[in-house]
């Protein structure tokens, strides 16, 4: 039996920041990273030199890595990480930064994800995404992840009886959440009728099943709780986390993610179960992935996702508040920042400072990450159970 995992008791998540999203920007990823860091320093009321750990995720930082960014931003960190894991970046960054501050390797770690978006960025990212994508997906005309997720969605619908209306219900609810969130790029309500009749992208996916690429950045500071208290920073705690890559390599097609392997570990470490969670931030690049996360993280059984959707309301005031700032489907997908969107929102909710609608009496939130369609499936999965810090 594996050794018991150390807790994250001493760790605080503070100063969640968002550099407002824009569809296209002439700025580079470095600009967005710089803005995010500036917002964090300003929010924490500290000098830049106190940031002694840096963790960056970006698809568009090339030719630079985290190393180049230290000189670019004038930082001299003693702990540095670069996490190219797309939608799982936030969870993975959190796990690594938390251990760094617990062990004393860094005092304050700035975790951020920043991406540029120029009119041609999306196409260039797709064609260079991975060797398998280059060799075995992109030559087939697949519009990036759209076709890959269309294949997963088609399978999920056939196998588990999901209907377009089920996915639509989630998209409509997330749009309602987004209408209260100031940085959402989609500012008009979405009706189920509009969702169903939108133009096809890669059947069965239509326009509102697909995230819109944009530019932006998200970030937060990871530090010890006593550091956060000394700085008088509102903060959230980490109760448990999981991470898995290439979780089910033998599945002929993806119908589950690594969460299904690791969720017992997650809840055991957290000391609470899915029934105790007040709100959930899933990685929602396509709605079918929401259903997989709801199932695989234990909110219902495998294949019961469609029934679960029909039985619940997903707005902030609903029975199962989901993607409370609107998620990527309604806010936009700012590259790797999409992997931080739910994490940043969860910390805002748990510190009582949401920019949009507040989940009533939110004490426990679950954030989930999913990333990197390397070939036919998303490889990275992760999740974290976060809590309000009652002592703060």
């Amino acid at each position: 039996m594996a050794a018991a995992r150390a807790s994250y008791d001493e760790v605080a998540l503070a100063v969640p920041v968002t550099v407002p999203y824009v569809r296209y920007s002439i700025r580079s990823a470095h600009w967005f990273a710089g803005r995010a860091l500036a917002l964090m320093i300003e929010g924490a009321g500290i000098d830049k030199a106190r940031i002694d750990g840096l963790c960056i995720s970006s698809f568009t930082l090339a030719p630079d890595t985290a190393v180049g960014l230290t000189q670019h931003l004038g930082l001299s960190p003693r702990w540095l990480d670069h996490i190219p894991m797309g939608g799982a970046s936030g969870i993975v960054a959190l796990r690594r930064a938390a251990r760094a501050v617990q062990c004393g390797d860094a005092e304050i770690v700035a975790c951020l994800a920043a991406d540029a978006n120029h009119p041609d960025t999306f196409r260039l990212n797709l064609s260079n995404f991975s060797q398998f994508a280059q060799d075995a997906v992109y030559p087939y005309g697949a519009g990036g992840a759209n076709a890959s997720f269309a294949l997963l969605t088609d399978y999920y619908m056939r196998r588990y009886g999901a209907r377009r209306e089920d996915f639509g219900k989630l998209c409509v609810a997330q749009r309602q959440n987004a209408l209260r969130y100031p940085y959402a790029l989609f500012k008009k309500p979405l009706t189920l009728e509009e969702y169903l009749s939108a133009r096809p992208i890669a059947e069965p996916l239509r326009l509102f099943d697909c995230v819109m690429p944009c530019a932006g950045a998200e970030g937060l500071l990871v530090m010890r709780r006593d550091t956060a208290a000394a700085l008088r920073l509102p903060h959230a705690r980490i109760l448990g986390t999981i991470e898995r890559h290439n979780g089910f390599p033998a599945d002929p097609i993806q119908f589950r993610g690594g969460w299904a392997r690791d969720r017992d570990d997650l809840y055991a470490q957290a000391g609470i179960g899915p029934e105790d969670i007040d709100f959930v931030e899933t990685y929602d690049d396509y709605p079918v992935i929401n259903l997989m996360q709801i199932e695989d993280l234990g909110f219902c059984g495998k294949g019961e996702g469609p029934e679960f959707v029909r039985a619940h309301e997903f707005t902030v005031a609903g029975s199962f508040p989901l993607n409370t700032s609107g998620g990527q489907l309604s806010v936009g997908q700012a590259g790797a920042a999409g992997g931080f969107l739910g994490l940043v929102e969860a910390v805002r909710q748990l510190t009582g400072k949401p920019l949009g609608a507040a989940v009533p009496e939110a004490a426990f939130g679950l954030v989930s990450g999913f990333g990197m369609i390397n070939y036919d499936r998303g490889l990275c999965s992760g999740a974290a159970v976060l809590a309000r810090d009652e002592a703060a």
């Binding site: 076709a147 294949l151 096809p200 097609i253």
Partner: protein
Amino acid sequence: MSNPAPRPKRKNPILRTRLPTLPPHARSRVALGLTAAAALGRLELQRCRNCGAIQYPPRETCHICLSDRLVWEPQDGSGELVSETVVHISQELFFRERAPWRLGLVRLDCGPSVIAHLHGDCAAPPTRLRVLNCLDRAGQAVLVAIPEKETPNMAEDRQLREMSCDPRNRKILVTDGKTAVGQAIVAQLAAAGAEIIWVGYAEPWKKFPGFERIKTIPQVTLMPLDVTDSVSVKELAGEIGVKVDILVNTAEHHRAFGIAARAGTEVARAEMEVNYLGLLRLAQEFGPVMRARGADGRNNAVAWVNLLSIFALANYPPHGTFSASKAAAHSLAQCLRAEMLPSGIRVVNLYPGPVDDEWNQLILPPKLAPAALAAAVVKALQDGVEDVYPGDIAQDWLARWRDNPKALERELAQS
């Protein structure tokens, strides 16, 4: 079923001819193993010699046991369609111009799941089907899933036709109709549904054997063409070049003997004039205009066929100078292929063993019948392959050459 292609309408001269675009062509080096198999029309996947696992996409090591002892092995491609999609929006011009486009995820019986182009006649998942490994317009390997059982007009599928070079409804130039091989190719292209076949002949004042019979084929028009004469080639290209969809170069000069048995260079020069410089002249005059028509509608310029010889790979001393001229043509054909690639036009090389004609009189059987070579040309176009080694002798030489080229050289020195 796929709809049979209607006879093409006359081209509207007011509309601009669409310029060729290609599917994404970038591949890792290890993935080019798949392209090498597709050039021969085979589906091959990597198998681990250590643990037996079959894997896809191609990798440098076995994903099960981490051995690097990987070999490409033929597979039958049978499998089950697990899911499908129809892509309406693509980032790539080639697919934007051809949307909607059907794709499927197939679980192969041999193990891996593959993303494949999906034939229109395949039923909705779950359904049994067969996966082929084809060259796409970029000349790179792609997997294509087709129905398990033949359906009517299967080759006419819109997506499949983007991979193949089917002669049906196409306008074809056969550069020399004087030989038995040239005439067999003309007859079989006509039977395969070619719309027009221009047949070149070098000396229009002479009636060659078979002349009357070939003239009775309705699609055939005889055209004066001497590939040793730059003016003749230029004139024909000026007259029909903009209409040629497929060019089949059958012009060949073949004499026996090597170096010692004959004085002077006249015979060798004549072989080079036809076999090498003839190809060069044709490529210079017809190449550019065919390149411009690489995406000209459903009946676009698609292929250039060279009749080379298995003697091009290794010299056959009893036909030594002929072998040398075919080796030169083989090399030039590689250059032509590289230059045609950006326009999506496939250069198909056939490397037959000795053909059963008068110039191979003294070679012992088995020899390749002209009709068999013609059938190989038509099949290569229909299947969209790039390299063909028709007949038993060609296959035998190819196997020896691949196994050990030096050993083949010694074997041929004693022939």
